[in-house]
């Protein structure tokens, strides 16, 4: 107990996100279902963390716990040194499904979290972020008028609009074509550098995880445990053709296959 208190004190300065010994169960059909097991993860301010793991291993749940949408009973979860008790204004999230509100125009969806701004400031902000994701001119459309990829980009714009210090991204590029995807990856990196946003991104794309992540968290199949955290080289990981890049890839794949031998339920989402 005292030990974890001390770690808490240290983390206050160093870590914007601090997770220790987190376990998470869901009750499904009155049976407990272990989803996350002994998760330990410390994230420094401005760091880019990517998370890869099999479908259903608890990645989305982990992000929701970090932003305070899902509760936890066991372990420590802190943002900025304070135990997470609910959503906070500076912790944004881009959901796995875009979750645009069907009854709001795109501009109102993107400006959804902008409560304290004047009308003009809001408009400028929304316009800027729509341009950023390549959706300028769609301010007055409704979500039903956008394609899947466009909706996802609008959701990213919403996540960025209120300038969060922590942004959690749950497979934000899943519905994008390869080219737009690479474009968006660059965009998100440049935002991260400019604003020094701390990003935690879940992805199914291992290349993307290596390219974007300062560290790549590899999770096991359910119950999700952290198998390894791979710190990538900041320069080598940005060139997809490099040998180092390939070696990271190989390491991550090996974890996946290791899993598939033990667990016949595994899905191949690589």
């Amino acid at each position: 107990m005292t030990e974890s208190r001390e770690i808490e004190k240290n983390s206050e300065k160093d870590f914007i996100i601090n997770i220790e010994h987190l376990n998470k169960k869901f009750i499904v059909d009155k049976q407990p279902l272990d989803v996350l097991k002994n998760i330990n993860l410390q994230v420094r301010k401005g760091e880019f963390i990517t998370i890869v793991g099999h479908s259903g291993c608890g990645k989305s749940t982990l992000l929701k716990i970090i932003c305070g949408l899902v509760g936890y009973e066991d372990g420590v979860v802190e943002r900025n040194g304070h135990a997470v008790v609910g959503p906070g204004p500076k912790c944004g999230m881009v959901f796995q499904e875009h979750r645009l509100l069907p009854w709001l125009k795109i501009k109102d969806n993107v400006g959804f979290g902008l409560k304290d701004l004047s009308k003009e400031e809001r408009e400028v902000n929304v316009k800027k972020h729509l341009e950023l994701v390549g959706l300028a001119g769609f301010e007055n459309s409704y979500p039903a008028q956008l394609s899947g990829g466009m909706s996802q980009r609008a959701a990213i714009a919403r996540g960025l609009a209120n300038n969060p210090t922590i942004l959690l991204l749950d497979e934000p590029f899943g519905a994008l074509d390869a080219l737009t995807r690479i474009q968006m990856q660059k965009e998100i990196l440049s935002i991260q550098e400019k604003e020094n946003t701390t990003m935690v991104m879940v992805t199914h794309d291992i290349d993307e995880a290596i390219y974007l992540g300062d560290r790549v968290v590899v999770m096991s199949a359910r119950p999700g445990e952290i198998k390894d955290i791979i710190t990538t080289d900041p320069i080598e990981s940005k060139s997809r053709g490099s040998a180092t890049f390939a070696s990271y890839k190989k390491t991550i794949y090996s974890y996946f296959f290791e899993d598939s031998q033990e667990d016949y339920e595994v899905e191949y989402n690589i």
Binding site: P87, R99, L104, Y142
Partner: protein
């Protein structure tokens, strides 16, 4: 597209035309006393007479006024309680059982008690309408609000919206289509309730006119009133349908998947 809608209208007209023809044949060539079924011309004449003397307009206005009062009150009460029940589960658990029971009582069964309590004046008619319409609005509002997908509510939680903002930006827009269904039903039962209550105890209104005409064996006036009630009903229904389109502009883009 155009062709289809014309075909739709034509198909819809077949039965009304058949009924009018049958009516015409029965009254002109059959042997039916006019106190039971008057001729079409007779009905048309009494219609003109009623309009000319202003009776019809006055009756309609009186009934309509009652409907508007009762309907608005019921919508307000049902809308507020339905919303609170839809958003907060404990409130729902508190009210749902008794509402389910009371809702089963037909509106006609309320009338004796309401007359005992409120007399046969204006108040009792409005109260009857409120009771009839209230449950329609309540039940539909509650189900529309509580049916709001959790994934949208989560977005509101994420951005720390106040309960009021969550209601106005998430729950309410989701529920609008169903609330409008409730309002449509409420309006139609309001009409029924006002006519029923006026037929039982009143000295004015379209229901009174009908029961008065019946006691004088004036089937022609009864039929005029019935037709008018039908027409007003459909006009109000269309009005709400139009309001529906106005309030839910996003719906026309949504693909009809269901």
């Amino acid at each position: 597209m155009k062709k289809k809608s014309i075909q739709k209208i034509l198909l819809g007209l077949i039965l009304p035309i058949l009924i009018v023809v049958a009516w015409f044949l029965a009254t002109n060539y059959g042997n039916i006393p006019s106190g039971i079924l008057p001729t079409i011309t007779k009905v048309k004449d009494s219609f003109q007479e009623l309009v000319h003397t202003g009776t019809l307009q006055k009756d309609l206005l009186v009934s309509f006024g009652r409907v508007v009062k009762g309907f608005l009150m019921a919508s307000l009460l049902g809308g507020v309680l339905g919303s609170v029940m839809g958003m907060f589960e404990p409130v729902r658990d508190l009210f749902a059982p008794i509402i389910t029971v009371v809702r089963q009582i037909p509106i006609i069964a309320w009338i004796p008690l309401i007359i005992l309590w409120c007399g046969i004046g204006e108040v009792s008619k409005v109260v009857i309408i409120v009771i009839a319409a209230f449950f329609q609005v309540l039940v539909n509002t509650e189900s529309g609000i509580s049916g709001t997908p959790g994934k949208y509510v989560e977005v509101a939680q994420l951005y720390k919206l106040s309960p009021w903002e969550t209601f106005s930006k998430v729950y309410l827009p989701h529920a609008i289509p169903q609330i409008l269904v409730g309002l449509k039903l409420a309006l139609s039962v309001s009409w029924m309730a006002v006519v029923a209550s006026e037929m039982l105890a009143a000295t004015s209104g379209i229901g009174y006119r009908m029961s008065n005409a019946r006691s004088m064996m004036r089937a022609d006036i009864v039929i005029v009133c019935m037709i008018i009630i039908g027409i007003v009903g459909i006009v109000m229904d269309r009005l709400i349908g139009w309001l529906f389109g106005l309030l839910t502009p996003w719906q026309k883009y949504e693909k009809k998947e269901k």
